[in-house]
């Protein structure tokens, strides 16, 4: 018994080695990237001056620009975010049901739904917007569809996980009464996932408000179009106005979502 001499160690040798391997790979990747990335040092040194120049051009914010253009564009942005979130549900709910193993018990269905959910999440919303702009032409419809397709992965994945966590007791009780498939879904699953459903949708809406503000940069409608126009004309005071409007809307959306979630849950 040499318990006293035994030296306590938090990790086994294998754990230690694999951790050091991760650190080593990170350091190598970092050094390699720093050496090969094309950064022009003069630009970095020049940055504070350029930054100061930009803010000085932004300064008297052009508030007169708000009623002409920014207001309508802002309303359009909010509409894109909201309508996009609603359209997402049409696709996300069936995919979430297919992805939940306690509803559909087939490996093939899981793989199909997972393929759609992952590809929706991997493609960025700006790239979705580029695709839809080239299909439907520049305008709101491309923005709405880009937001909708981008959100499917997020909403579908989280909703599927929420459905899998449902307490099966009430479902079995409903099945024992001989309830139909539809009424088991509506009266057994739906009341249990309701709080999760609303918090997921609200959370996604909050993200979508931020994302729809930039879709206009590729021509998909909303405040981004106004921002892009004034930037191309170097009217930095108008850019500042648009940025301020986006800032206020994002903060307001967050406050609204936090308050509704407090009420609901």
């Amino acid at each position: 018994m040499n318990t006293i001499d035994h030296h306590w160690q938090r990790f086994t040798l294998k754990q230690k080695l694999s951790r050091y391997a991760v650190y080593l790979v990170l350091v190598i990747a970092f050094v390699q990237s720093i050496q090969s990335v094309e950064v022009i040092p003069e630009f970095l040194l020049d940055a504070p001056e350029q930054m100061a120049d930009m803010f000085s051009r932004m300064w008297p914010i052009d508030f007169a620009y708000y009623p002409d253009t920014v207001h309508d564009a802002m309303v359009e942005t909010l509409n894109i975010a909201t309508l996009g979130t609603l359209i997402t549900l049409i696709f996300a709910i069936p995919l979430a049901l297919m992805n939940a193993s306690n509803i559909v018990n087939s490996v093939w269905c899981h793989w199909i739904s997972r393929f759609f959910l992952v590809s929706s999440r991997s493609v960025n919303s700006l790239v979705w917007a580029l695709l839809f702009v080239s299909i439907f032409g520049p305008g709101v419809i491309a923005g709405v569809l880009a937001i909708a397709f981008r959100s499917i992965g997020f909403v579908g994945k989280l909703l599927g996980e929420a459905i899998e966590e449902v307490n099966m007791g009430s479902i079995e009780a409903l099945k024992a009464t001989g309830a139909s498939w539809m009424s088991i879904l509506l009266k057994g699953y739906w009341p249990q996932v309701l709080p999760a459903f609303f918090s997921i949708v609200l959370f996604r809406w909050d993200i979508n408000v931020r994302e729809s503000a930039v879709l206009g940069l590729v021509g998909a409608g909303g405040i981004g179009v106004v921002l892009d126009d004034s930037m191309n004309l170097f009217q930095w005071d108008r850019v500042a106005m648009s940025l301020l409007a986006i800032f206020i809307i994002v903060i307001l959306a967050e406050i609204v979502v936090v308050n509704i979630r407090k009420r609901l849950i």
Binding site: R19, A29, I40, F43, V75, N124
Partner: protein
């Protein structure tokens, strides 16, 4: 017979909830209103579907012939993601600590929390535009953008993780007469480290996604290649780039799963 049908007036468990019905009605009204307000119509949609089949047809054999252009964009994206993640994680380690209200007095934590919140408000693309203006086109603007985005995300979650730790171990270490650095290293870090690794790998993933996108506004990486391919209507090249991006992101998720398993 009274015992069998005792409760004549029992409550219907599935009765209509008028509040919820009103909300659904409001949603329907909103959809109708917004379709009108934005001038969306079925003809426009139908018209687009014809273009869609045309577009998909032109995408179909993905064109990998400009392989070197694709690879240089991909490598630049990877470099942006690696550098910005590591710098962002390093900065957030300190900012997260300073923002935790149980570790720091409020005159330090409040300004730091405001700074973190500011980093989170704007979409990365907007931050990228501002950095492209101040440091010029290229990878540097992309790196700075993603550093800001990472700080906004990791520092906030890290501060929240530190606020949830148990203070007993902090007291125990303090009782041995340890200095501030040792308290942080031996009582706070062991409690939050695995969660911190979780946030960091998630952010590495999301930086990988975003590094393929900031190029659209000129901040370097594969996004610039993608945007110019769209503008030149080279849809077969677009398809090749999209396949590469999806493969890159799946590879990133695979790697971060391995890292998470090692640090569990």
């Amino acid at each position: 017979m009274a015992g069998i049908n005792a409760s004549q007036n029992r409550e219907n468990p599935f009765k209509q909830n008028w509040f919820v019905t009103a909300i659904w009605l409001l949603v329907i009204c909103y959809v109708v209103y917004s379709f009108n307000a934005m001038g969306l119509s079925w003809e426009r949609f139908n018209d687009g579907l014809g273009h869609a089949s045309n577009l998909l047809g032109r995408m179909v054999p993905p064109n990998f012939s400009r392989w070197s252009l694709l690879m240089s964009g991909l490598i630049e994206s990877l470099e942006i993601a690696v550098i910005s993640s590591i710098c962002g994680i390093f900065i957030s380690l300190f900012l997260g600590l300073f923002a935790a209200r149980n570790m720091m007095p409020s005159w330090i934590s409040t300004p730091v929390r405001t700074l973190i919140a500011l980093c989170r408000t704007f979409h990365p693309v907007i931050i990228a535009i501002l950095f492209v203006k101040s440091v010029g086109f290229g990878a540097l603007a992309g790196i700075l953008t993603l550093v800001v985005a990472s700080v906004g995300f990791i520092a906030k979650l890290f501060a929240e993780a530190i606020e949830e730790i148990s203070l007993k171990q902090v007291e125990a270490i303090r009782a041995t007469g340890a200095g501030f650095t040792s308290i942080i290293l031996f009582s706070v870090m062991p409690q939050v480290f695995s969660r911190f690794i979780g946030f960091s790998t998630y952010q590495l993933d999301s930086n990988l996604r975003n590094s393929t996108m900031v190029g659209i506004v000129g901040a370097g990486g594969l996004g610039g290649t993608l945007f110019s391919a769209f503008q030149r209507f080279d849809y077969d090249f677009v398809a090749a780039i999209l396949i590469i991006i999806i493969a890159l992101i799946m590879f990133g998720e695979f790697l971060s799963n391995i890292v998470r398993r090692i640090f569990r």
